[in-house]
């Protein structure tokens, strides 16, 4: 479905990605783990078209989308929940969700999806009139995911959905991520919490200073000694 080939991306003056390649197949959950500054978010931003690679290709369904602007890429069915959630703070919860469906014209479908999101996250329905900026961290994460779902993505990019959340909320959100995947959405998940990410994903890539150093089925990587040492905190 998505194939990233040897991309080099510059962020400010930094050569952030030095030839990253990865592949995501329909229906999978693929995770990207690595430490701070390894280039995980840059990879997602390059796929979404916010950043453009200096070299390399990003193939979605076989066509190169590396140099398309971000707002066009959303139209192809790639939605992102960015790092830090980026809720629009002075728009209501309902308006935030509506903006998630900005490019869609099928009123009936949008209405159904809105109901689905409220079903998935009942707390958002309660707070639908509240401004986005007033929600708690966990609620904001739910809103961010809900908003991305409103775009009916074929591929959902999730950047650190566990960041700064209480363990019980994290557990709930990861449950929902798996459910979204079961309902037919392909997912690329970026996480620092490797344990969690390897637990829910089918395959994984390890990113270190702008390069993919390891990749394979998540279950195998979870037992890999290097991964255990570097990311799972074992001695």
């Amino acid at each position: 479905m998505l194939k990233v080939e040897e991309i080099h991306t510059y962020y400010d003056h930094i050569h952030a990605l030095k030839g990253v390649s990865l592949e995501i197949r329909e229906g999978e959950i693929v995770c990207l783990i690595g430490s701070n500054g390894a280039g995980k978010s840059t990879t997602l931003m390059t796929i979404s078209g916010v950043l453009h690679p200096a070299r390399g290709r990003v193939l979605f369904d076989g066509q190169d989308i590396a140099h398309r602007p971000a707002d066009r890429i959303v139209g192809l069915g790639i939605c992102q929940v960015p790092e830090g959630r980026r809720i629009l703070p002075r728009l209501s919860v309902a308006d935030n969700l509506e903006m998630g469906a900005f490019l869609r014209r099928d009123r009936e479908g949008i209405r159904q999806d809105l109901e689905k999101v409220y079903e998935l996250f009942p707390v958002l329905a309660e707070r639908r009139r509240q401004q986005g900026g007033t929600l708690s961290g966990g609620e904001q994460q739910m809103l961010a995911i809900g908003r991305a779902l409103m775009g009916r993505p074929r591929l959902l990019l999730l950047d650190e959905p566990s960041l700064g959340l209480a363990p019980i909320v994290v557990e709930k959100i990861f449950g929902i991520i798996q459910q979204i995947n079961r309902d037919g959405t392909t997912i690329l998940l970026v996480e620092q919490n490797a344990n969690l990410a390897l637990g829910v994903s089918d395959r994984a890539y390890v990113l270190e200073t702008g390069r993919v150093t390891l990749s394979g089925p998540s279950r195998e990587l979870a037992h890999d000694e290097r991964v255990r040492k570097a990311y799972l905190g074992e001695q």
């Binding site: 080099h8 510059y10 003056h13 050569h15 200096a54 070299r55």
Partner: protein, 408 residues
């Protein structure tokens, strides 16, 4: 090609739509006529201008594939010392080969060189947009005018006083405004400039209002004289344009040296760091408020200097010399010459003062051209005619860097 033609057609249609009511409609008292000839001429001009810009874009797009360097400016092609030497020789010899009219224009150029370089401290070095700069010029001019007409204070004594009062005015205006975000500063200085002009216009008892102050003395030359009363000071007033020219030259040279020294001092580096990233500058221990205030006051001092000289030269001041358009003109000099670039500003001051004199018929189009040039400059060559070395490196560093790494 087809795409280009469609774009051209759209632009021309758009321009026609915008221009035809403004250019064509002739409104009299209860009459209305439509004039085509002007519209046709201007549309022709738009077509040519669009063609030129399109060609320029095509060329630069082509060059981009080759090398990206904007090319060395004039300043780097001529060895600096030689350049300055020739310039100095020409400046010194000039009045002996010119008539009074040319001397008068040359004096104006020198005044604007001082003003441009003074504003350059604020805009070019410290990165603060000041749209009321001419107010300090007015302060200098009125200080000398008032001191001279009321108390008979001579020019040479009034000059430092004018500088001090201008600096004081700079501090007074700067202190409350410099705490603000930079772009608010622009509008507040614009407001202050207007306030000063409105006050000059209305405070009749002191400033004589719109009539202005007459009877200001020219700078005097003092020499010891032996009379019956013993040794006294005799003096002559230097009304002669050649003498005034040399005084203006001294003021301009003092400004050039002053600004050069400032730029290459610790203070200059502090200003650059404030311009690039104020928060970072603050974190490295620079007292940003004090530094900005300093820039503001120093800028004001040079304007005060030029203002006092202006009053002495014309021997008459009135508020209409200190309108917003004058501020805009000085700003134009800084922008066109290249922010932070001393040779650029000298060249731009000369061009902006001399060109309208040469093309007298086009006088009306002067500000139109300057306004348009300002925007074009920002879009196509933000570093100015003769870019300051440091500035050019800053403006093109990112591209150069990305390219270098990209080719690696």
């Amino acid at each position: 090609m087809r795409k280009e033609l469609v774009k051209f057609a759209v632009v021309m249609l758009w321009a026609f739509g915008l221009l035809f009511p403004m250019l064509g409609a002739q409104i009299g008292f209860e009459t209305f006529t439509f004039e085509w000839s002007r519209l046709v001429r201007v549309m022709g001009f738009v077509a040519v201008a669009y063609g030129a810009l399109a060609a320029q874009r095509a060329v630069s797009a082509h060059r981009k594939r080759g090398h990206r360097d904007p090319g060395p400016g004039l300043a780097e092609r001529v060895p600096p010392l030689w350049g300055w030497g020739i310039l100095a020789a020409v400046a010194l010899a000039f009045p002996w080969f010119a008539d009074n009219y040319a001397r008068d224009v040359a004096i104006n150029v020198l005044i604007y060189v001082a003003l441009g370089l003074g504003l350059n401290i604020v805009v070019g070095l410290a990165g603060l947009l000041d749209l009321g700069y001419i107010a300090f010029y007015a302060v200098g001019a009125y200080t000398y005018a008032l001191l001279n007409t009321h108390f008979g204070v001579p020019f040479w004594l009034a000059l430092p006083i004018g500088c001090v009062i201008s600096a004081g005015a700079g501090a007074f205006i700067g202190y409350p405004t410099l705490k603000m975000r930079g772009d608010y500063l622009a509008i507040v200085t614009l407001g202050f400039g207007e306030i000063i002009r409105i006050v000059l216009n209305n405070w009749d008892r002191v400033t004589e209002g719109p009539n202005g102050i007459l009877g200001i003395k020219a700078p005097g030359l003092y020499y010891p004289k032996l009379t019956e009363a013993g040794l006294t000071l005799g003096h002559v007033y230097l009304k002669n344009l050649t003498c005034l020219y040399y005084i203006a030259l001294v003021i301009a040279v003092v400004t050039i040296i002053g600004v050069y020294r400032l730029d290459h001092s610790r203070v200059g580096r502090a200003w650059v760091s404030i311009r690039e990233d104020e928060t970072a500058a603050e974190l490295t221990g620079i007292d940003t408020l004090r530094m900005k205030l300093l820039a503001y006051m120093l800028g004001a001092i040079f304007a005060g200097l030029a203002g006092a000289f202006y009053a002495a030269k014309v021997r008459y001041v009135n508020p209409s010399s200190f309108v917003f358009l004058e501020s805009a003109l000085v700003l134009c000099i800084v922008v066109l010459g290249g922010m932070g670039s001393i040779p650029g500003i000298i060249l731009a001051a000369a061009a902006i003062i001399v060109l309208p004199e040469v093309f007298r018929d086009l006088e009306l189009y002067r500000m139109l051209a300057f306004g348009g040039a300002m925007t074009l400059m920002m879009v196509y060559r933000p570093e100015g005619l003769i870019p300051a070395r440091r500035r050019r490196l800053e403006l093109h560093a990112r591209e150069a860097f990305a390219e270098e790494e990209g080719n690696a």
